[in-house]
Amino acid sequence: MPSEFPIPLPNLPLPDAVPLSWYLILSAILFTLGVAGFLFRRNIITVFMSIELMLNAVNLSFVAFSYHLKSVDGHIFSFFVMVIAAAEAAVGLAIILTVFRNRQTLEIDEVSSLKL
């Protein structure tokens, strides 16, 4: 990758290298949005997707720290998180399918009684 870029970039007050804290703040924002979605949404599938968003946010900070420490361990951790997320999605979606089959609804508030 050559360093010289042909088009002159506008002279914004941007740092030459991105501080590590920017990545962490982005990760925090995404995680908080995931929590917000988890609390506010009432569709089971959307709630489940909010959990995936939180996992993604955590992965980003793992990879960012991995860059900071110049070691590959963070990547391995986020790899394991992804694998577990895949297993979790398979089981979770199967549960959602069963819930929908028994109650004909995906609204989380309506799935409140233990017995049908």
Partner: protein, 165 residues
């Protein structure tokens, strides 16, 4: 250049995440989540994690989210019903959320380790070869345990999704 790329894709990620929370239809939420994952994959590339970026696209965006979209289409899930008091909720929650995020950002800004910052190409240990070596030497036990976990998950999914339950 690095900062510009970071800001662009961070903005896309945050925009998609907000869309995920605000949309009432699950398909729209699922597609915004795919958008978040795509922009995160680009950020992983900037951080030198080529393999993780590829796995993010293949496993997360290409398999898990496809499964979500598939289930949403299969159940023909409709948009959420409107609640009675959405306005009050927004008035209280959004400023609170914003204040909380500012606090967290301030904390991270002051507490985060001060390094040279992230430049593309500053770390090249995230290729497939490095990940593989680490995975099959240092992390061989967790790796094997994960494969058992996946096997259990498959069995669980099959048992749960059977008709007779």
């Amino acid at each position: 250049m690095d900062a510009l790329l970071f800001l662009t894709f961070a903005a896309i990620a945050v925009g998609c995440a907000i869309n995920l929370v605000l949309q009432t239809h699950p398909i729209a939420s699922a597609l915004s989540l795919v958008g978040v994952m795509g922009s995160l994959a680009v950020l992983y590339l900037l951080l030198g994690g080529e393999f993780i970026a590829a796995v993010q696209m293949i496993v997360y965006a290409g398999a898990i989210m496809v499964l979500f979209v598939f289930v949403i289409m299969l159940l023909n899930a409709a948009a959420e019903k409107k609640t009675r008091k959405p306005a009050l909720r927004a008035v209280v929650a959004v400023p609170l959320l914003f204040t909380f995020l500012m606090l967290v950002a301030y904390l991270i800004q002051t507490q985060a380790p001060k390094g040279t910052g992230v430049k593309f190409g500053g770390f090249t240990g995230g290729g497939p070869a490095d990940i593989g070596r680490s995975l099959f030497t240092t992390y061989i036990l967790p790796f094997e345990v994960t494969s058992v976990v996946i096997l259990i998950a498959i069995l669980g999914a099959v048992v749960l999704a059977r008709k007779e339950v």
